[in-house]
Symmetry: C3
Subunit: 339 residues, 3 copies
């Protein structure tokens, strides 16, 4: 059960061009492309005639031709040509989805089109800020998207899972503050005078202890932004420290798999390509450790009694709040639909 009236990241803007790009979102096969003027289009990836994949078809100007029987659809999804017959059945339309392009990403709206307001897209303004520097990517995890959200809302696991990159003992030892302002959840963890984790040392050359800050914001349905900072202990001096935003948008692919769109945007060493490369590599390495965790978790959930209760710890406050918000939104949506 997914929240349908919401914007989901379907692709990086640069991934989609003048070619048919298939993507599975909320269990629905989509095909994306751009018209000649660069406008992005998203269709259900099934021909309304015999359900062949439109993504196996071809672009004819701004239209898509199904390469099974040759039907052609315009960017609105309307059939404009059927081989061998002059009249077009009026209901021959492929379902099209509202698309918005913002913060370098292509967003699709999976619910009622008339509710698709681009103003509802979360604010990731730093993606477009030229004074910051961004690295990013797209991974797939074999687990339910909420497992990934849980993971991001309790970074305790960095201490155990990410010892080679961003984990230090302080994360697990330091309690978090959680503040719920529906539909947002804010979590902060401030770690004073602690060891710098390996990646921090590599990118910023810390020699002594640091003060480390994590400010996390959850926004429904699946967006987690981490404002992460580190400065030489007691200095509060960002010029000798570091700050980056980790943007995580976890688009459900199916009930048991997720797209992981991510970006790390920093405000230091912006022109240092070596740092960019290192950061990209280390972040991918870190997220692949999460992938292994989440896929193991999904496996253990799949083979378990679905009614079995799990037990919480203090560190779950944020994740539990986020799940509660999502349950409420999904319940409200299904009530609205059935009304």
């Amino acid at each position: 059960m997914f929240l349908r009236n919401a914007w989901y990241v379907a692709a990086w803007g640069h991934e989609v061009g003048r070619a048919l790009f298939p993507q599975l979102v909320l269990g629905q096969p989509l095909v994306l492309y751009r018209t000649a003027d660069g406008t992005a289009v998203a269709f259900e990836d099934r021909c309304p005639h015999r359900r062949y994949a439109l993504s196996k078809g071809s672009l004819q100007g701004d239209n898509v031709r199904c390469e099974y029987h040759g039907l052609v659809f315009n960017p609105e999804g309307k059939c404009v040509y059927v081989p061998g017959q002059p009249n077009i059945p009026p209901r021959m339309r492929v379902r099209s989805y509202p698309v918005a392009e913002k913060w370098q990403w292509l967003w699709v709206w999976m619910g009622e089109p008339e509710l698709a307001d681009p103003a509802l897209i979360p604010d990731f303004g730093w993606h477009d800020d030229p004074s910051w520097k961004r690295v990013g990517g797209h991974l797939k995890f074999g687990g339910h998207y909420q497992l990934v959200i849980d993971n991001l809302l309790d970074l305790t696991h960095e201490t155990f899972v990410h010892t080679r990159t961003i984990g230090n003992a302080a994360v697990a030892e330091t309690p978090m503050q959680t503040k719920v302002e529906e539909p947002y959840v804010h979590i902060e963890r401030i770690m004073r005078d602690c060891n710098a984790p390996p990646l921090f040392k590599k990118v910023r050359g810390f020699t002594g202890n640091i003060d480390r800050f994590q400010f996390i914001r959850f926004e429904p349905p699946c967006h987690v932004v981490i404002d992460a900072r580190g400065v030489p202990a007691g200095t509060n001096d960002l010029d000798r420290g570091m700050r980056w935003y980790v943007t995580n948008s976890i688009t459900p692919e199916t009930e048991t798999s997720s797209h992981y769109f991510w970006a790390v945007t920093r405000c230091f060493a912006q022109d240092d390509e070596a740092i960019s490369e290192l950061l990209h590599d280390q972040i991918v390495k870190t997220f692949l450790e999460d992938k292994d965790v989440i896929e193991t978790q999904q496996n253990r959930i799949d083979s378990d009694d679905p009614a079995k209760r799990v037990y919480d710890i203090n560190a779950d406050a944020g994740a539990v709040a986020a799940r509660r918000i999502m349950s409420k939104l999904i319940a409200r949506e299904s009530t609205t639909v059935s009304a």
Copy 2:
């Protein structure tokens, strides 16, 4: 749901000899073999004792021995030997299926044996006609058999899917005539003064335009014969042209996979081995293009809402009629059985 009281092609005659030959038909594992006098036999491929695969056993003269516990069955399916005990349990029988050998193919009857009349086998007389020349084969498609029937009853797709072999623009542009004479569906498409498709040029050396003819006959449950012709435009001269029958028998393997038994039988260049080889290769290439289409379609159907409506075009008239006939026959059969 399959029509059970019908003949289905289970194998080419030459594929089955004095060895146990397993084949999955309508979801039922079968084992076929020939007795010493050449008579073909078909059994359920499960020992009635403990369901081990008889196809993993051995022929003992005309009998089959199960190689788990040594029970022996005669060609009628009756158990004739149980190791270590003199009496044979009278109900120890393996289910046997009526088999007929006709048109180079072995046909099995999957329903009530007393209804298995070989006269009900479709007429593919050209397979045995020495004045014609045949090439043929057996493929497997990962899709429901009706998707393959649909494919064959609307050759519009040749224009889009088979551009390298038998497709030309004329197929998609020219409307078909459909005539339903239950249980048959007849479809014809006559394309005057059109380009010759690549394969036609290769086998017949056409230099100018041709008149192209397609006469198609559907016969339940899963047989489609295409009488295809091409002659220099305006000549009606088969001596300078070509004609072949494409026989397609699509035996359901499971609900989502199909055996594709095919033959192309021609009445020109009968002794030209190079033409036979070329034709075989090009037809296999063509059908593998269909395989890709049908497997993609099946994938998109499997992930779709089963209740979702699809929309028809004029070219579907034949395929829709064939599906309607099949639905009627299957409904009638299930009524008869329950009565």
Copy 3:
């Protein structure tokens, strides 16, 4: 449906040490390890917090640390540490299973812990008898455990499946005697003056005929012991003959797969390493033949009508009795639980 109040072999004793050892038993993922003093421990392989696999964690002294969020559990399953919080939620426990170590095997009790009496473990005393020599192993079969039990309670199949090792014609030809003494089933087959099967010749050098004896005991839920003997025909002279116990403990892994723990313990040529190696290799070869049979059987069962009746022969008496005993025990257990 499995019998839960029973001891099942989970591992060879030597397989489990100071490392986390995962094993799937009755569909339940377990993790086994030994404390510093050698005591074996078995937990559910899911953290009670977020169900991550404890087997992916680490040993901290005698405790297990979950490597997702760092919770630590003592050998009783009680949580003794939660990072970043002083109080431990009292219900934060991982389910632990009674373990017993006997006859070189680690046994787990999958039902109600208070019923776990080690005295209920079958008597395989020869495993520990220094005057006997043992080879053994652990295989996995892709079939329901009762198919393996059936296989062992009717050795008729040796004649057909194991012709290269332990099969001779006499097994199939000679009827068995079956005696049911609930919950045991005893089966014996005495084959006088028969050919020695290939493996018997190899390990004991028989040149003439032998008298061959098989005494089989089934004990619920899944243990079959075969006391197998061969002596020169008419001599009853074990000094020139052979005797071994084949211990077979078939632990259900899932509804369609099984662990096969086995040992062959002999009372001849105890110090001959070459015989030990040969025996190990030949027994594995033999059991892999059974694996192929059982996996084929499971495949044919999976694709069959579950209500379809199978038919018995005389040789099934023991296996049928064993299944009846198991059905009764499982029915009784489910009544007790629901009462």
